[in-house]
Structures are given as C-alpha cells and as structure tokens.
C-alpha cells in the first residue's frame, strides 16, 4: 500500500528501452511505413490536394491586389465583376479541395488504425504467457486505443501539414519576395530565432510530457488498487491513508502539468510575438515606400494579407512538431509490443496431423488399457527410444528444470530436476507445500511456459516437437482461477471441445462437473455470462471451468486445484463423476486435500524443485513425513506441540 507516493516510473515492464533518448522521432515514425504503404497513393494525392488548396488560399490576396490596383482604381465595373467572380471561383475551389482531401483519407486512415489494432490483438494473443505476466492489461489496452488514435491523427494531419505548411511558407515567402524583396526580407527576419526556440522547446517539452504520462500511470494505479482492494481498505479502515497517497500524487501531477503548460505558453508567446513584430516592421517600411511612390497601395495590401495568411502555417509548426513527437512515442510504445517475439512453432505438423485422424476418445481408451496393463515399476532412467512402447506412453517429465524467464539467470531455479512418469490412463495427484511450484509445473504441459532445461513428452513425443495447436488440442486444463468469457454458458464450455461438439457433449460435461445449475439459469445454457453477463459465484465458475476441461474428452487433463471453491456436498458429487472421466484419461491434478488426492491413482510429492516421492496416498502417508505433514497438518517429527490430529486415519 503506497502510503508514500510511488516513484514516477513507467508501469510497463523493465524491458522498455529508453526510447525517448535513443531513437529519433523520424526513425520511429518510419516504422509505420508497412501500414501506410497500402494507402500511400491516396495519402500522397491528399497531400498534393492540400498543397493546391493552400496555394489557392495564397492566390486570393493577389486577386484582391489586382482588383484594388486595376478595376477599382479605374472605376471599371466589368473588371470588378470579373474579380469578384475569380474570388468566388477560388473560394469554391478551396472549399472543395479541402473537402476532397478529407474524403480521400477518411476511410483509408480509419482502415490503417483498424489494421494496426487487429495486428496488435493477433500478436498479443500469440505472445508467451510470461509476457502477459509482466504487462498490465491496461498498458496493452492504451497501446491498442489511444496510441493508435494518435497515430491516425498524425497521418491525417501533422504528416500532411508539415509538408503543406512548409510548401505554403516557401511559396508565400516567394510571392512576397517577388512583390518586394526588401519587405520580404524584413518578414523573414524572425525565422531563425523562432526555429531555435522550437528546437529548445521540443526537448524540454518531450521530457516533461513523458514525466506527466508516467505520473498519470502512477495515479491510475492508486485508483485501480483502491477499487480492487476496497474490502481490505474498508476492512482495516485505511481509506484515509489511501486518500492521502492519492492526494499527494495528484498534486505532483498538477505541478508537472502546470510546468508543461508554462513551457507551452512560452513557445506560443515567442511564436505569436516575433512574426507579428516583423509584420509591423514591414508595414512601416512599406508605408514609407508607398509614400515615396516606390510601391503601390495594392501591393502593400496584398503583401500584408499574404503575410497574415502565412501566420497560421508558421504558428502551427510548433504544435505540429509536438504532435509528431507524441506520435513517435506512440509508435515506439506500439512496437515495444509488436517487437516482442511470438512463440515459434516447429514446422513439423504433418506427423501429429496423422495422429489426429483417430478420435481422441478411442485412442485414449485404447491406451488406457495398455497403460493399466503396464508394469508399475517406477522408471527413473530415460528409456531408449523404441525400446519399450509402454514406457513411452503417457506423460513424462524428464529432468525438467525451470526458472521464470524474467528471473535473474543466476537465481536458483523454481523446479530443479523434475522426473515424473504418468502412465497412460493413469491419474496422478501433485502435492506440495504452498509456493513449491505446483501451478508452474502444470503450466509447462500445455507450454504456457517453456521448460528451461530437460523435456516433457506425451506418448513419447517431445512436446516441443508438436505445434502448440496440436499440443493444446491434446491437453485440456482447468485453472485455479476460473475465467469465463463474455459468451453463453454453452459456448464457454464447448470451447474445450472440437468444432463438431453439440448439446449432447455439453450436457454430459455439465453433468460431470455437477454444473446442472446451468440449465436452471434464466436462458439455460444460452445465458450470457462473463464481464458483460450474469455474474456467477466462485464455485459455479469453477464447475463450468471444469466442464470446459472435460467436454472434449481430452487424452491429457491438467487440473489445478479444481475443487477449492466447492462446498462439501458438491465436492463429493464432482469427485464421483470425475472418477468416471479420469478412468480414460491421463491426468495431472494439483491437490491440497486428501479428498482430491483420492481421485488419483497415485500421488507425486513436489518438494524443493524435484519430485521427492511417488506412490499411493496411503503409501506416502506412511513413508513420507513431509507428505503426512501436508495432508494431515500433523507436525513433522521433531515438532513438539501442535493441535490434536483427528482426521489422519
């Protein structure tokens, strides 16, 4: 609980490079090219049109000059009409060109944004789970929404208008120089000081802007936590200290924002004042020239209105650059995610595709029988390939060593040397102390994490030789935290099955998981659940997640403490039904309780990163003091005191 304000650091993980320092704005933005390429013609055409439109805007003062010096001075009505007609036509052209430009880019740019978002989503779905462990979903979301919106705006506006305004300024300056080169030079005077100021501003501003972003992130964290942890805050009466932390952070943010505003104010002041002073000087010089007869009044009017027309392009450069800077940061943020490597799959897919030809259920039944007939000696040595088919069947962990990819490479691994063979058709309970790595071990089977060393085989086949798609079609998982998606109950459960599964499979799975309450929901199994639907209790969700794991009759089943939220009666009923399922399936079940352990044929004890013992529940109770301790709460031998144990049997 941050009773003191957290340091202003980006919440994104530590892998984030020092982007602002190391990459130039231009180089960052160039990475957008592949997405812009398909719409380059339209974007280019739009830029040309915008330049045309701006030039039309610049020509209008020239027509005015022509009217004042010509028809008006000569009292020539026909000439006046002609001039007005020109003005009207130019005005129409300007309006239509601007509209045309917007029309040209509207749909393509919406398309670019959508395309980048779809790519981000696709990429994120395929990044390793370890990546998602480190990145808060909010950080990812802001990349998929606000950052992409910034990029679209950049493509629509600053990209085009840096070019357009540049050209406009050049043309305008050209026109002014041609009309009167001394006045033109006067106007050009402040160009260099303005540019220098912009450069200095740019650096300072981007540093402050980044700091403000980070502070907003910190503030959001406090808000988020104070909402998610509301019961703890209320339960301990700590809302005052939470409010204090929030107050301090929001004050810091206000200070940063004010600093940002002052910088912005300063640059605006410079950008407003200097060109205006130059125009004033030009006016004085021009007036002298007109008095001397060296310059016509019409030329002076035209000159000044050109100068005034250029004021906007000049002033806009400042904020166009600021917007480009933000777009560059957004691009960096986007590619931070897109550059993360997706999990590569071996090219080999054909092999297992053949195996998939046989319906999973039949195969597992078949193998179940083989497995049951197998000799029950515990094999520790890695068998030679092809020596003994039975030894290869089932799920094997061979010298598995695992350390989280983000842990320091010299830190002790979480799993040091796991050797375990779950025979085909057998179910194995996995027991271990809190924090011993049980959940981590189960995550290795469907390759949610990759083993650091050693290997895991399914029926003799190394899981890294299978594509993840195949692997995960063979292994079904129920997680400790049951997640339901915004979909109907039926869809949520049938996610675990192949495409052909229907009502029959659904009903069977619901029955196994004792989730028949689903039929009693307002719209039965068609009831919407998840974030946007009916909220179910923890126990109900757990049972649906279990149904999802068993609906596809998978050959391999991994259950992580699947019954923790169930009350005693329900638990017993689920266990009875699960035994039926487990008879055909090779299963690994994480268990905390004797009742769950008894679902399994054998138990493996995970301790200090390795499998310390394997055997039946009763064997281990006798032979392993640690196991007995975990299952009964009896103190380990040597511990004197402790409450009287009654349920060990």
């Amino acid at each position: 609980m941050p009773t003191k304000p957290a340091p202003a650091t980006d919440l994104a993980p530590d892998t984030v490079p020092d982007t602002a320092e190391t990459r130039s704005t231009v180089r960052a933005l160039l990475r957008l090219w592949p997405y812009v390429r398909p719409v380059r013609t339209r974007l280019g055409a739009a830029a040309v049109i915008a330049i045309l439109a701006s030039c039309v805007g610049l020509v209008i003062p020239l027509v005015l000059k022509w009217m004042v010096d010509g028809p008006v001075a000569d009292r020539d009505p026909a000439g006046v009409w002609l001039g007005a007609l020109y003005l009207l036509l130019l005005g129409l052209a300007e309006a239509l060109l601007f509209g045309f430009r917007r029309w040209l880019v509207a749909r393509p740019l919406a398309g670019v944004e959508a395309g980048m978002r779809a790519d981000l989503y696709r990429h994120l779905q395929r990044l390793p789970v370890a990546f998602h462990d480190r990145w808060a979903s909010g950080q990812l979301l802001s990349r998929g929404t606000t950052d992409l919106m910034l990029l679209r705006m950049f493509l629509a506006f600053p990209l085009t208008f840096l070019l357009v305004n540049g050209v406009t300024i050049l043309v305008g300056v050209g026109i002014m120089l041609v009309q009167d080169w001394t006045l033109g030079l006067v106007i050009l005077g402040p160009a260099i000081p303005v540019m220098i100021t912009c450069g200095i501003f740019e650096k300072k501003y981007s540093a402050v802007a980044r700091r403000a972003q980070d502070q907003v992130g910190d503030l959001t964290t406090v808000v988020e936590e104070s909402v998610l942890g509301i019961r703890i805050i209320k339960g301990f009466g700590r809302h005052r200290s939470q409010a204090r932390a929030f107050h301090e952070l929001s004050h810091t943010l206000r200070g940063t924002e004010l600093r940002k505003a002052r910088l912005l104010a300063a640059i605006w002041a410079v950008i407003v004042t200097l060109p205006e002073v130059a125009i004033g000087a030009a006016l004085v010089v021009g007036a002298v020239q007109v008095a001397d007869g060296a310059l016509s009044a019409g030329t002076l009017v035209a000159f000044l209105s050109t100068a005034l027309a250029l004021r906007w392009p000049v002033e806009s450069i400042g904020f166009l650059l600021a917007m480009s800077q933000e777009a560059a940061t957004a691009t960096d943020r986007y590619f931070e995610v897109m550059d993360a490597e997706v999990e590569a799959d071996p090219a080999a897919g054909s092999r297992a595709a053949g195996a998939m030809g046989v319906p999973p259920l039949e195969r597992s039944r078949e193998w179940g029988r083989v497995g049951a007939a197998a000799p029950s000696s515990e094999q520790r040595a890695v068998p030679e390939v092809g020596t003994n088919a039975v030894e290869l069947q089932g799920l094997r962990f061979e010298h598995v060593l695992f350390r989280y990819p983000d842990a320091a490479p010299d830190s002790p691994p979480l799993l040091t040397d796991v050797d375990l063979h779950i025979r085909s058709g057998e179910s194995m309970a996995l027991v271990g102390a809190t924090g011993s790595g049980k959940t981590t071990l189960t995550a290795l089977v469907p390759r949610l994490h990759e083993v650091t060393e050693g290997r895991i085989t399914l029926d003799g086949e190394d899981i890294t030789a299978l594509s993840r798609e195949e692997l995960r079609s063979m292994v079904a998982v129920a997680f400790e935290e049951p997640t339901l998606f915004s979909a109907t109950v039926g869809e949520n459960v049938l996610m675990g099955a192949g495409a052909g599964a229907g009502e029959e499979e659904l009903d069977r799975a619901l029955a196994v998981a004792q989730a028949d309450f689903a039929h009693a929901l307002p719209e039965g199994t068609g009831t919407q659940v998840g974030e946007q639907g009916l909220s179910l209790s923890g126990g109900q969700r757990q049972r649906l997640a279990l149904a999802r794991a068993v609906v596809g009759r998978p050959r391999f089943l991994v259950l992580d403490d699947p019954l923790s939220a169930l009350d005693v009666h329900t638990e017993a009923a689920v266990e009875a039904a699960l035994r039926q399922v487990l008879a055909d399936t090779t299963a690994l079940i994480v268990a905390h309780r004797p009742s769950t352990v008894l679902l399994a044929d054998r138990v493996a004890l995970l301790s200090e990163g390795r499998i310390a013992a394997v055997g039946t529940h009763h064997e281990l109770l006798r032979t392993s003091p640690e196991y007995a301790h975990l299952m009964s709460g009896l103190d380990k031998p040597g511990d004197a005191e402790g409450p009287q144990e009654r349920d060990g049997r």
Partner: protein
Amino acid sequence: MTAPTATAPDREQPEDPEPGDLAEAASGAVAADDAFDQDVLPSPPGATGALLRSLLAPMKARVALTVFLLLLQQAAVQAGPLLVAYAIDHAVPALRDDDHGPLIAVGAGYLLCSLAAGGLQYAFIAAAARVSQDVLLDLRGRIFRHAQALSVDFHERYTSGRLISRSTTDVESLRELLDEGLQELVTVILSFVYIAALLLWLDLGLGAVAVASFVPLYALVRLYQRRAGRVYRKRSTAIASVIVKFVETMNGIRPVRAFRREAANDADFAVLNHRHERTNGDALLEMARYVVGSRLVANTAVAGIVLWGAYRVADGTLALGVLAAAVLYLRRLYDPIDRLGMFLNSYQSAAASLEKIAGLLAQTPSVPEPSAPKELPPLESEHPGREVVFDSVSFGYRTGGEVLPRFELTLPAGQTVAVVGSTGAGKSTLAKLLARFYDPSAGRVLLDGTDLRELAVPELRRGVVMVTQEAFLFSGTVADNIAIGRPEATREEIERAAKAIGAHDFIAALPDGYDTDVRKRGGRISAGQRQLVAFARALLADPAVLILDEATSSLDIPGERAVQRAMATVLKGRTAVVIAHRLSTVEIADRVLVMEHGRIVEDGAPDELIAGTGRFADLHRAWRDSLA
C-alpha cells in the same frame, strides 16, 4: 493547446472524444434493466451543470481573470488590420506631407500590440492551465473520496472497471474540454464579436452583410451537431465493444491459449474492429462535409462583400483602406468556424462523461460515518475480546428481497464461532453486517453495547477486522502490505506477525525478503501465500473481533493449521467468527451456527451438534468421509 489567434484553414479536429469512448467501453454495454448494468446511475436533473458550476465556483475570480486576459489578448491581436488601414489612409498621405508622426505612431502601436499579444498569450495559457488543473485536482479528489466512502454493497454492483474509467478517462475528457474546448469557444465567440463589431464600425453596410452570413453558418453548425452526435454515439458503442473484447482476452490469456481460442478470437475481434472502422470513417466524413459546407458559405460571403465594397470604392462612398481592412477581417471572421466543430466534439464527450461522474457522486454512502462518534468502553476483563449483539437485526438489499429475516444473536466476548451452511445461506451477509460493510435494514449491531454506526472508522477497526477470500496485494513491498494492518508497526512487529502465521519462511526466501516489491521481477506470490500475507495483516491489526470469511480456501492443510494455531495463541481471547467450507475450522470453534435461507437453524457446541441428527451432523459426516 492552440493559440487563440491561430487561423486554421483546414485544421484537423483533434476530435475523437475517445476518452469518453473508453469510459463508455469500460462500463460495458449490458442489456439489462438495472441502472447499474446500463451504467446510468440516476442523478437529479441538472446535476451535470450543477457539478460543473460547483467545480468552477471556488475559482470564479480566476476564471474571470482568465477570460479578461483572453479579451485583452484578442484586442491586441485584432488591432493589426486596423493599424494597416490607418497606415494606408492616414500615415501614407501624412508622410507625403513630410509628417512622420502618424507612421511612427503606427509602428509603435504595432510593436506594442505584438508584444502585448505575446505576453498576454503567455499569461492566458498559464492562467487557464491553473484553472483547469485545479478543477481536475478537485474533481479527481471528489471522485476518489466519494468512491472510498461508498459502501461495499455499491462496489459489488458498480464494477471496478467503471469506477476506474470514471476517475481516469472521464476526467480526461473534461480536461480536454477545459484545456482546449472552452478556450476554443471563448476565442471563437470573442473573435466573432470583435470582428463583427469592427466591421460594423468600419462600414455599417459591409458589417451588416457579414453578420447576416452567420445565419446559414449557424444552421450548418446545428446540422453538423445533430448528425455528428448520432455518428459519435455509434462510434463510442463500437469502440466500447472492441475494448471489452480486448481486455477480456488479455486478462484471460491462459485459458485463451490453453483452449486454442486465438483464431476464433481473431475472427470475433475483426467483426468488432471493422464496425468501429466503419463508424470512425463515418465520423471523419461527417467532419469533411461540415468543413466543405462552412468554407463554401464563408468564401461566397467574402466574394460578395468584396464585390459590393469594390463598387462603393469606385463610387467614392468607401475609402480604399477601409475596404482593405474589411477584407483582412473577413478572412479572419470565418476562420474559427472549423474550430467550432472541434469545440462541439469535446463538449459532447465531456458532457457525457460529466453526466456519468455526476451520477456516481449523487450516490449516497449507505454506510455513513457518524456525525458524533462514540468511543468503545474500556475493556473490562484482561481478555482482549468484546461482546457482539445482533439486536432485532434484519437485512435486505435496497433493490429488494430480504436476505436475513429479523433475528437475535449474542456472541460473548472471547468466543470462537463457526458459521456453516450452503452457498447463499447468508453467512457472508452476517459477517458483513458485523464488519459494518453493510448496515442492517432494521435493528442494531452492538459491540460491547455500542452501536457500530456510532463508531468512527479508526475506532471501529480497532474493534472489528475482517479477512476475506480475495487476498489482494497492493503495489509496494511485502512489508508494506502487511503493515496495512497497522501502519505504525515496526519491522520487528511485522516479522513477528508473519512468523506467527507461518509466512516468514517464504517471505525471507523472496529476492529482497520483506522489501520485495510484489509487482516487480521475482515477486510472483501464489494464491496461498497471498492469503498468508492477508492473515499477517489481521494479526498485526490485533482487533477485538476477527472475522474470517472463506479466508483459508487456497491454503493447504499446514497453512490452515498455522492459522488455527495463531488463533489459539496470538489471537487467544478475541471474539472470532469463522466462515469456511472446510469443517476443519470447526475443531477450534466453541460454538457452531448453521445457516439456511438467511436463518440460523442450528446453534450449539460442535460436539453437541455432531452427536445430534441435524444438518450439521450430516455435513460433518460428509466431510469426515471426504477426508478418507
């Protein structure tokens, strides 16, 4: 961040009331009749306006100053063409008569105006930022404090996502309105008024024509407002579904991967994304139409006015300089039209956000703090526990439906009471009444004779602390997280609490021990370990009454034993209420309450009930069987 003077011939809208969209999204469009589900909390009519007024009220003077600065700044900026006219019509002829005075005056005037324009610009932006930041600070604080004051009951129905988006994206959209929108509006109105007045002063006829051209422009703005409003609403719904899908996928990435949902999700997402793309394009096109329309009207008006003006110069009824100035002003007159569209955008999105915020702030805390708090009486015996009495208590949610019918219950000081029963029997509600997460609909909950409603929060939490199933960790170190129980605790006290509950070993094994940041590298803490941290918190808080609501569900048996041991030693003598599926808890209980349909159906010592034939005896038998 645009200068008030900037003329923007084709300025892109920094449009996108996206913050509002995000807010919308987080709220998740739900098809249900409940106001909570639809995210439209009732607020009294005019609450949005009242909220905005109350935010601005304390800084009336500064708002006035800001507007005044802008007024002066515009005056300085708009003086330019006037000086041009004066230079051509007066200074030039004077110069020809060798009178340098008027020209020097023009030069000095122009210089002065430029400097004033720049300086005032600085002052205005700085002042406006102060106002806007202070309003935001105030609003953020209000939302935060209010959300914290609202009851758990409220939080259970108003999802966390909505609350987060209220205080982030919705505040952000108000910020956009304050930073850019209002400045735009004031600038636009000011320059309209100034320029129209100047034109009328320069020449009544030309000015009148210019003012008349506002009529079609106004019609255009209204049309745009209507059409764009429709498109924006559609777009905000579209982005909402995109966001919901996105967040759901990322939060559920493990099942997504394990059940190979990637391709199916890609397809679902593509549909939602495409819908947003369409409406987004529609919105951009709507803006394009508005720009074309307004430009057409403006340019036609300019051509017309110039034609008429030129005729009158030819007649000699209009000075050439006046025409020149009028033309310069005319171009400026129409420049802000595009920006009006921009303002309308940010206004619409801010109004929607403010409405939602006002709805949230209009919720009254159902568990208010006492106005005249009382203190608990000093402990009578050497036992630290206190007596709890439910005095004719009944409870029902405000939405209706009685959860707990009227009942009486007394828990003597120091007693450990187990509450059992199936899901929905009312066990948690009983616990929440005792923890004062809810107030009873009728009756009183007394702690040593004092109504819980009369205790100030710190006093209440010295009396009652509740540990729940969800063991949330705040960002910060492990020690910080334990210290929530008692912020002034020393490191020794924190470690003692951790040791008492058996959490010390795993904490010591973390990379930085007690100083390990739970959100950083190597800070992975399992569900069971989180529950141990939550217990250490409760031990440190050392309350008179401890409530454990399913607080051991993720613990293994040794963990559960450690908790029981701690209760028997460290927490000895406290009054304790324990709710658990696992009947192992019962072994340390002095008394068992069996609940069903909101009623206490059995009440007695564990052995007594087990020996009987009631529900508890059944439950206990089933549980013993499950232990094998």
